[in-house]
Amino acid sequence: MLHTSKFAFQHNYMPILELHNLRKYFATQKAVDDISLSIEKGSIFGLLGPNGAGKTTLIRMITGIFYPDQGQIIFDGKKFDPLNDIENIGYMPEERGLYKKMKIGEQTLYLAQLKGLNATDATRKIKEWFIKFDMHTWWNKKVEDLSKGMSQKLQFVITVLHEPKLIILDEPFSGLDPVNTNLIKDEIYNLAQKGATIIFSTHRMEQVEEICDHIVLVNKGQKILDGTVQKVRQDFKENIFSVGVDQMPAILNGNTPFEVLSNKEHLFVVRIKDGSKPNDVLQYLLQQHANIHSFNEILPSLNDIFIRLVEGTPLSRQFQKIND
C-alpha cells in the first residue's frame, strides 16, 4: 500500500498524542493503570486488547468523555483541553448510534455542526462524501430505513467529516461486506496520507497486521506491548522454521540441532534448539542427504502474540496442540 509513515519513524518524529502515566480507577477495578504511550502524527496505530482490558476507558479519556484520575494527555504538543481539542478528534464507538427517526442529511449536518463546522461548510463536505460513498440519494431517508452496512458507512462519514487530526475507530469493519470493507480501508489509508492519525481499536489481528504501523497491546489496564508490527513479530520469534523435504531423515539420537513440532505431507515445522543456528539445520539435513526444496522462518502472527501474552501460551505449544 501507499502509506509511507512506517519509514518516517527514525526521522523527525512528531507525536500527535502522548499519554503519560494515565490512570482511571472505577469503584471495583483499575480500568486503566499507569499507561504511557506516544502516537506519531500520520501513523495508523493499533490499540489492541481483549474484552475488558481498558481500551474503551482509554479511548474515552482521549476523547474527553472521562477525565483521568492521574496522568497527563498531550495533544498536538499542548496539554489536552477537552472543550476545544475534541473538535480535532473524530470518534466512532464500537456500539454505533444514530437518531433512528431523524433524516440522514439533517442528522449528519447536526453532528458536523456539533464538531464546530458551520452549516455551509458542513453541507458542502457532506455532499462530497455522500457522492464519494454513493450515498447521495439518502439525504431525506431515515436511519431506520438503512441496512446495517449502510448505517456503518454513514457512521464513518460522520466520524471523519470535520477532518479531524486524530481519528479513533473502534472495530470499524464489523458488519461490513468485503466490498465496503475495502472502501473504508482505502479511505483510512487515504486519510493517513493526508496527515490524519488513526487509532484503530480491534480484536481482528489479521487486519491490524495489514493496516497498522505501530501497535500497543493492553491487558488488565496495563500496557504489555508497544512497537512497530515488524519489530514486535521479530521480538517474539521462537526460532521456528518450516522445512520442505521429501523425506525427513530419521532422528537417531538427541544430537540434532532442531526438534520437529509438526508435519504435514512434506512440510515440517521445526524449532531450532538453543545454541544452534538455521545453518546448522541445513547442514544436518544435507549431511543426511535430504532433498530440501524450501526453508522459511515462521514469524509469529500478531494473533499468536496476542494469545501468548494474554493467555500465556507460547507459539511452539500451539503447534503441539494441533499435533496432539
Binding site: G64, I65, I89, P93, G97, Y99
Partner: protein, 425 residues
C-alpha cells in the same frame, strides 16, 4: 454555548414539527373544555327520574297536593296510592314504580326522620335527593296549610334568605368563584405539563442512551451540555404550546368584545373570559404562570433526565425509579386542593414556598390576589427557593447523568445514584 444552542434547536424543531405536537396543541384545550362542561352535563343527565309510589298512613297527602308538586318539577314523579296498598308493596316493580315510601301516621308538626325508601336496586344519591326534595315540598305545603299560611307568606318564609357575596375592598373586581376556577385550571395545567414534558425528557434521554447516539454526541460536547440542551429544548416546546393557547384565548376574547353581543357558544365563552379578564390581573397571572411553569419544569425534568440516563431500555425500570419523583408531583396536587379552599392558610403558604410543591400550589394561590392573599415576601421567597431548587437539581442530575449515560447493565438504585452524584470527581 453555541453547541448548547444547536442541541436546543434540534430538540425543539424535531418535536414541534411532529404531528403529535400539532394535534395535542389543538385537541388539549378542546378536551379540557369538554371535560369541564361535559362532566357537568353528564352529571345532570345521569340523574334518573324515579317513579315513586307514596302510601300515606298520616292522611295528610291528597291527590291534588301530589298532582300540584308533580306539575312544579319533573325531576321525579310521585303517585299517591289509595287502594291495593299491600299488593303494591309486593308488585311495585311490575307496576312500573322504581320504589315506594310509606308515610307513617304522624301529625303535621312532627318530624319524619330516615323514612325508608324501598327499592329493589340502589339508585344514586342525586336521584334519591330529587325524590326527597319533592316530598319536602309537599310536606312544606301541608305544614303551611295547617299553619294557615297562604302562598305569599310561604314564599316569604322560604325564599327570602340572606346570601353573602364577599367584596374585597382593596380589589373591587376580585371574584372568589372565578379565582377558584382559575386556580384549578392553573394548578392542573402545570401538573399536566410537568408530568407530560418531564416524561418526554426522560424518554428522550433513554432513547439517546439505548440508540448509543449519546457516546457519539458526548465526544463532541460535554454530557452536561447535552442534558441541559435537551431540557431547555423541551421546556421551550412546553412554553410554545402554552403561548399558543394564550393567543387562542386572546383572539376569542377580542373577537367576542368586538362583536359586542354575546351569542352562541363563542359568545358565552368570550363572555366568560371577559369576566375572568376583569376580575383577575391577567398580566401578573401570565407572568407568574410562565415563571412557575418553567421553574417547575426545570426542577423536575432534570430529575427525570437523571433517571432516564440511569436505566436501560426497559420502561418498567424507568417507572419504578421515577415513582418517588412522580409522587412528589401528585402530592403537590393534593396540597393544591386544600390550598384553594384556604389560600392564606399555613399549609398553603409553606407548600407554595418549598420548591417541591411551589409550582403547583403557588399558581393555585396567585389567582386569589397579589399582594392581598399572597404577599410579596412570600412570592419572593418562593421564586428564590425555586430558582435555587432547580439549580441544585440540575447540578445533581448532571452528576448522575454523566455516569449513567455510559453505564449499561443492571439498573442502579437511588442509593447508587446518590453515590454517583456526591462522590468527588
Amino acid at each position: 454555548m453555541n453547541k448548547i444552542l444547536l442541541i436546543i434547536k434540534r430538540e425543539y424543531l424535531t418535536r414541534i414539527r411532529k404531528r403529535t405536537f400539532i394535534i395535542s396543541t389543538i385537541l388539549f384545550p378542546l378536551f379540557y373544555v369538554l371535560i369541564i362542561f361535559g362532566s357537568g352535563y353528564l352529571a345532570s343527565k345521569s340523574i334518573r327520574k324515579l317513579k315513586v309510589a307514596v302510601i300515606d298512613s298520616s292522611g295528610l297527602f291528597t291527590p291534588s297536593l301530589v298532582e300540584n308538586v308533580n306539575a312544579k318539577d319533573s325531576s321525579s314523579y310521585l303517585t299517591l296510592i289509595t287502594s291495593n296498598q299491600d299488593s303494591l308493596k309486593h308488585n311495585y316493580s311490575s307496576l312500573g314504580y322504581d320504589g315506594y315510601v310509606v308515610i307513617p301516621a304522624v301529625r303535621w308538626d312532627e318530624k319524619i326522620d330516615k323514612l325508608p325508601f324501598k327499592t329493589n336496586k340502589t339508585h344514586g344519591i342525586a336521584s334519591v335527593m330529587e325524590v326527597q326534595n319533592k316530598l319536602n315540598i309537599a310536606w312544606g305545603k301541608i305544614k303551611a296549610d295547617s299553619l294557615g299560611m297562604d302562598e305569599r307568606k310561604r314564599s316569604i318564609l322560604n325564599d327570602k334568605n340572606i346570601s353573602l357575596k364577599e367584596e374585597n375592598e382593596k380589589n373591587k373586581e376580585a371574584n372568589a368563584e372565578i379565582a377558584t376556577t382559575i386556580a384549578y385550571v392553573c394548578g392542573i395545567l402545570i401538573y399536566v405539563i410537568m408530568l407530560l414534558y418531564g416524561s418526554q425528557v426522560m424518554m428522550g434521554v433513554m432513547e439517546e442512551k439505548t440508540n448509543r447516539i449519546a457516546e457519539v454526541v458526548i465526544s463532541s460536547v460535554r454530557p452536561f451540555q447535552l442534558m441541559l440542551g435537551k431540557i431547555i429544548g423541551i421546556g421551550l416546546v412546553a412554553l410554545t404550546q402554552f403561548l399558543i393557547w394564550i393567543t387562542f384565548m386572546l383572539i376569542i376574547y377580542n373577537v367576542g368584545k368586538a362583536s359586542g353581543s354575546a351569542t352562541g357558544m363563542m359568545g358565552s365563552l368570550a363572555g366568560g373570559l371577559q369576566n375572568v379578564f376583569t376580575s383577575i390581573n391577567m398580566p401578573i397571572l401570565i407572568f407568574f404562570f410562565i415563571f412557575y411553569l418553567l421553574g417547575g419544569f426545570f426542577f423536575y425534568s432534570s430529575l427525570y433526565a437523571a433517571i432516564g440516563s440511569a436505566v436501560n431500555e426497559d420502561m418498567r425500570e424507568a417507572q419504578s425509579l421515577s415513582f418517588p419523583v412522580t409522587m412528589l408531583i401528585i402530592f403537590s396536587i393534593i396540597i393544591m386542593s386544600s390550598a384553594i379552599i384556604d389560600p392564606g392558610g399555613d399549609l398553603a403558604v409553606w407548600a407554595s414556598i418549598i420548591p417541591f410543591s411551589s409550582p403547583i400550589v403557588m399558581m393555585a394561590r396567585i389567582p386569589f390576589g397579589v399582594p392581598e392573599t399572597v404577599p410579596w415576601w412570600q412570592l419572593t421567597a418562593s421564586m428564590v427557593a425555586l430558582i435555587g431548587g432547580f439549580i441544585f437539581t440540575t447540578w445533581f442530575a448532571g452528576k448522575i447523568y454523566r455516569v449513567g449515560i455510559l453505564m449499561y447493565g443492571k439498573k442502579p438504585t437511588w442509593k447508587e445514584m446518590l453515590k454517583w452524584a456526591f462522590r468527588k470527581s
